[in-house]
Amino acid sequence: MAMIRRALVALGVAGAIAVVLRVRGSGGVPPQTGGWRELSGPDLR
């Protein structure tokens, strides 16, 4: 019985951590250099 209870608690904690990571986690690092430039003239020839 105690083992089942411990397993359920462990599952609950793992689930809570997964939810926090899913909601609060970051998808990556923004680019550190460069930027957007409009395609024009020579780029479209």
Binding site: G27, G28, P31, W36, R37
Partner: protein
Amino acid sequence: MRIAVVGLGAVGARAARQLVSTAGVTAVILRDIRPARVDEVAASLGTAAVVERPPYTAPPEADVVILAGPAGTHVDEARALVARSVPVVSVSDDVSDVRALLDLGPEAEVRGTTVAVGAAFSPGLTCVLARHAGADFDVVDEVHVAKAGTGGPACAVEHHRSLGAVGLDWRDGGWVRRAGGSGRELCWFPDPVGANDCYRAALPDSLLLVNAFPGVERVTARRAATRRDRFTARLPMLRRPHPEGGPGAVRVEVRGRQGTARAVKVLGAVDRPGVAAGAVAALTAVQLARPERRYLGAAGLAELVDPVPFLRELAHRGVKVAVFGDV
């Protein structure tokens, strides 16, 4: 040329507006299951608009037909048009629609006509950008597409539904099914949209791009979503979809080899998705109406259009494309 637009929602109405201001288009036939909507759109278009009110017993008599109705309605209409050898432009971004439309390819080829599949903002412009970026490479290994924003209410419903469905990634020659809402990646779109977390979703871009780049190793498609979007994706929509979304964006990253070196090219565009989708659909229809069109069968825009003149004409119509790099 006579071009018909079936379905006058956010995209269809914009496509019709683009068409009436296009040289060579003599008539734009308008169809929608809502008679009042047909009259409303026709009133804003002038004399080139030809009103056809429901009920409809036969396909429209036109040189090209743009299908801009709700997802799920495109395949039967396209099949009837292909049987009459009429070129079709579908703006559907529904995976089932895209698959079924691609399956019409052999019949379209036999009948000497073309089905342009996914000719909107994403897919559509994304396919053109991938083709344009891919021209810089000797070998294209990877194509990664991301989109942000929605057009009209049908697009918002599709956004909600796609996050709760299975996404398709192409990996090493096979399809990998991944849960919608997974695979978070921070994608940097052109300003003013900027950085957005993007996730896998049921998006058809990969289906179209794999065909366009034989031998490509990886193709993925993601869409920007908020935390609320992801948590509510498997529930019914909690509120009515908005009539028109704000600015949206697409981003296409192509990786490959230039000689012996590996390289990356990133292209993007920002616009209201409904407006840009309408412009892409209209331009595609005009191209298909020309007798010298080359491609017979069903395909996405990466296989159908020459990207440079297409992007130049889009820029002329206000849809600007950007490249990410050193500035």
